[in-house]
């Protein structure tokens, strides 16, 4: 096996991994404030991509305004989702909330299918399709966009959680909701905010990924699944862990396909993930004490 091929596997793995990592980031934000895995996270990614396509086609917008509008609409969807399905249920168990998010994901997917049909759509690449060559491996400029924007969002989230009052409030909720409430944090607003931010992260991801991966009403299912796996790999609740988990899964898949068998690449990835969990039951970068009761 030549070096160029191995380098190409790495590049491919990072490209695919960034799609998982981006989805995983969104999971983390809601999990941190509510302790719930939002199974509709993949749907935010789908909305980002599909709405961008829709606004370009139907309203004749240019790429960037279409994406901005798509992200804004997705954030609104996130807010409506929280306000009408999560907030009204008081004292709900985590499993109940998870089922609600599964229901919402089915609803959003169904609506998208009715609105835009079952076809797959493509979004133009941001800066062309001329591949960039790095030591024998070819990479599309879009991949660099994806990696750069993922990093920027990570940095933004880090800044948000560590130095804004809202961010700190949300973190407080993640440690102890009751205590947060007692020190005067508006927990309900924090939960609403967490849904809006993760919708934002998801939709931005969906829009920047669509040129590479194409998009359709049902892309959210697989991305949600892989994103969840990425979160677990990295350790739940840790944004850096989530992003890193995504990249690790992507690279594993790509090397699995390259060296072992393309048919069994997903099985290979999940076997490693399971082994990891058995050895380190709270993910690579997770803390064992993050247990919620």
């Amino acid at each position: 096996m030549d070096l160029a091929s191995i380098l190409q596997y790495l590049v491919s793995g990072l490209t695919v991994g960034s799609t998982y990592g981006l989805t995983a980031l969104g999971f983390t934000i809601i999990f941190n404030t509510t302790g719930v895995i939002n199974f509709a996270q993949g749907e935010f990614v789908m909305l980002g991509g599909m709405l961008s396509v829709f606004f370009m086609k139907a309203l004749g917008l240019a790429l960037v305004p279409a994406i901005v509008l798509a992200v804004m609409v997705s954030v609104a969807v996130g807010a409506v989702f929280e306000r009408f399905t999560i907030r009204p249920v008081k004292n709900a168990s985590v499993i109940q909330l998870i089922i609600i998010t599964i229901g919402v994901s089915i609803l959003i997917r169904g609506l998208a299918m009715l609105a835009w049909g079952k076809d797959t759509f493509a979004l133009p690449h941001f800066s062309g399709m001329q591949p960039i060559h790095i030591g024998g491996a070819a990479m599309l400029p879009q991949t660099i966009w994806v990696l750069a924007i993922t990093l920027a969002m990570l940095a933004g989230l880090k800044l948000f959680f560590s130095s804004t009052i809202y961010g700190k409030g949300m973190l407080a909720c993640s440690y102890d909701v009751k205590a947060a409430f007692l020190v005067g944090i508006d927990v309900r607003r924090m939960v609403l905010l967490s849904f809006m931010i993760s919708a934002l992260v998801g939709a931005v991801g969906g829009a920047i990924l669509a040129p590479l991966t194409l998009t359709s009403y049902d892309v959210g299912i697989l991305l949600g699944l892989k994103g969840f796996a990425a979160c677990i790999t990295g350790g739940l609740g840790n944004p850096f862990g989530a992003a890193a988990g995504g990249l690790i899964l992507g690279v594993l898949e790509s090397f699995g396909a390259g060296f072992i068998s393309s048919a069994y690449k997903d099985a290979f990835t999940f076997i490693i993930l399971l082994l990891l969990l058995f050895v380190k039951p709270s993910g690579l970068f997770g803390q064992a004490s993050s247990d919620r009761v």
Binding site: G103, I106, M113, A267, F270, L277
Partner: protein
Amino acid sequence: MTTGKKNTLGVAMFAALAAALPFLLTNDYYVSTLILAFLNAIIVIGLNLLLGYAGQISLGHGAFYGLAAYTTAILTTTYGWPMEAGLVAGVLLTVVTAYLIGIPTLKLSGHYLAMATLGFGLIVYIVFNESIELTGGPSGFVGVPRLELFGFAFESDLSYYFLVAGVLTLIVLLSLNLIDSRIGRAMRAIHTSEKAAEVSGIDIAAYKRFIFVLSAGYAGVAGVLYAHYLSFVAPSSFGFHFSVTLIVMVVLGGMANVWGAVAGAIFLSVLPEFLRAFEDIETLLYGGILVLGMMYLPDGIAGGITRLFKAAMARRVPHE
């Protein structure tokens, strides 16, 4: 009335209703719907014990169902094993797999457990898909013989219906008795507080594993019956989507409630039959029912009915 008597009465009523049902239905077709609904109910009861009593989630139960179905299908069709041996082997393999998987997996908790079982389900699914020589691959395994036990062929759907209804009744009875036993009390203790249970001397790991293996066994029973009913198995029937549907059935029926599991499974299996008239908006209604059901019927159909019943009783009291 003691719980034991109550259980027996309930099961007897259920058996009578199940026996009468085909004669009340206007069309043969609904018998096939009910067979599949009852098979789902068998799996969901097991999952309900696991989720509701032992407090453990499994997103991989579709895989156990599939393992059993494929095992008996392959053994009886490709290798010409007698049907009885195929059925036993199917259930046995499922149970052994569950036992082995359970050892490391059940040490995890919460979302990590969900991920581990999900991962297990996906791996099994990929194996069904890719080991084409053995399983027939994505387009499925054709030509599984219809069930024939000790010389009796279950050719008609009606005979199969009675068989499945009988098995379901037995499983309900077994599960109800289990809950009232020592094991059941231990399970509830674990669910309420693992620490407290441990302190009072309950071997948590052993109990969790027992329930996990038992529920996989139920899925195995349903799986072998499924393979010989449909005469065809394909990976798509045992994927992640199905495992999630099973969880939804548990939750919608009401956790820690055997009758709720039966109700939830039958309700969600039969529902699409009524939704089919709407076709395009079917998924919307399905999602809507899930969301609204969880928001306003948090303890499921069974819990909702009980509450309504209690409310009605409470209202009646002042009049008397």
